[in-house]
């Protein structure tokens, strides 16, 4: 249990995908002008990340790893298909996003209207693919990958909501002409990222 709490804390704060690894920066910067959109994108990321990381973990262990195909017969036991992982992961993500979009539209129309625009965008958000690639690189087990998927998605959500809050306040401040908009946003994210580095000493 302690191991999982540790993993969760690491995924949310220490290894925050947005502020420590700078993944998903494009949508992070583009969708953080307003609080509402930031919350929408954040929720969508948590949702899709918690779904796709464990799903990719199952497929990775069941199809790609060396020896994963041994149930097909002894001749398949030696096959190592890990070189297909990029393609498999992105296909799973694109498909999952599509299915989630249709499911939400059908069963939770209220949520769909608030998430609607962001769901298709997420298929090409590096946070999602990055989460699966880190999962593969660190060789997480299935329970670990569920915790990591949720934690890393949640970390991204926290980061984007925080940035949106700062940017809303920022519109009242007096920023030099050339630095307005994108420039100052980069610098704010830099400062936030430094603040998140404070967590890096924590070990549970």
């Amino acid at each position: 249990m302690e191991h999982f709490i540790n993993l969760l804390i690491r995924a949310v704060f220490l290894e925050n995908l947005a502020l420590a690894y700078f993944l998903g920066m494009c949508s992070y910067l583009a969708c953080s002008k307003k609080m509402e959109t930031a919350i929408g994108l954040g929720l969508a990321v948590v949702f899709v990340q918690t779904l796709t990381v464990p799903l990719n973990n199952i497929l990775m262990r069941g199809l790609l790893d060396e020896g994963a195909l041994s149930w097909l017969g002894p001749t398949f036991a030696e096959i190592d298909l890990r070189f297909l992982s990029f393609i498999l992961f992105i296909a799973v993500i694109a498909a999952a996003v599509q299915i989630v979009e249709m499911a939400i539209d059908r069963f939770l129309p209220a949520l769909y209207t608030s998430l609607g625009v962001f769901l298709p965008l997420i298929a090409v958000n590096c946070v999602i693919l990055g989460g699966s690639l880190f999962m593969q690189e660190r060789d997480y087990t299935l329970p670990e990958s569920i915790v990591f998927g949720f934690g890393s998605g949640f970390g991204f959500a926290i980061a984007i909501v925080a940035l949106a809050a700062i940017r809303e306040k920022l519109s009242y401040s007096n920023v030099p002409e050339g630095l307005k908009g994108l420039g100052i946003t980069f610098i704010v994210v830099g400062l936030m990222s430094m603040a998140f580095m404070v967590f890096s000493g924590i070990q549970l």
Partner: protein, 221 residues
């Protein structure tokens, strides 16, 4: 729509002012990172050293060009419903091949770049050019457009990496340029520059500089 396709057709392989604009616009005026805000993630994560930035740039240039060429060649045959996933499949295959080649040739750099090579797949710049330009243009301009954007991306990547490597460890491409106080020289390295947040500061300041130089880039609110 049809005029766009038509205008490109007669001058398929000539290199006139239009083609030059396709190629050079994205370098500064429409730079993917500082203006279009595409492909920012990798620009931040792998710019501690110039050699990493160069390898990453080469990867993005090759993948973007071949992907745009392939998408443009089959653009009239792609079913609209599976458009994005077909583009992603093409890009993912190219990235996988690049990753494999890197591992077979520059093994130590491939260890350092680890997952970030894979993330070229979701580099919105590559997909953005395939979807936004190559889907509607013939192969030659599509390749030029991809090359221009990828070069614009590479330019920022290398400028940021050079700044960080020079100020952070006093080196460029691994050669000591500024003698460090540790080794008896005069330069005290700025530790902040090797930490990830400095990439954000450098790009932020770069945007400021570019907008002061070319006021047309300033955002209208």
């Amino acid at each position: 729509m049809s005029t766009v396709i038509g205008s490109g057709r007669p001058a398929r392989f000539t290199f006139g002012p239009n083609e030059r604009a396709t190629l050079t616009d994205p370098l500064i005026a429409n730079n993917p990172i500082t203006v279009q805000m595409l492909g920012v993630c990798s620009a931040l994560a792998i710019t501690t050293r110039v050699d990493n930035a160069v390898v990453m740039s080469v990867g993005v240039i090759l993948v973007a060009m071949i992907a745009s060429l392939a998408v443009s060649l089959i653009r009239e045959r792609i079913p609209t419903a599976i458009r994005i996933i077909v583009q992603l499949a093409i890009i993912a295959s190219l990235v996988t091949v690049f990753d494999q080649v890197l591992e077979a040739t520059f093994y130590e750099i491939s260890l350092e770049l680890s997952v970030f090579v894979g993330l070229i797949i979701t580099n919105c710049m590559v997909l953005g050019r395939a979807e936004g330009y190559a889907m509607r243009h013939p192969p030659f301009p599509a390749v030029l457009d991809a090359l221009g954007n990828a070069l614009g991306y590479a330019l920022i990547l290398i400028v940021v990496a050079a700044t960080r490597e020079l100020l952070g460890v006093g080196k460029l491409l691994g050669f000591q340029v500024l003698p460090l106080t540790r080794d008896g020289g005069w330069y005290e390295p700025n530790g902040l520059m090797v930490l990830p947040p400095s990439a954000l500061f450098v790009i932020g300041l770069l945007i400021w500089a570019m907008r002061t130089w070319w006021p047309s880039l300033v955002e209208k609110d």
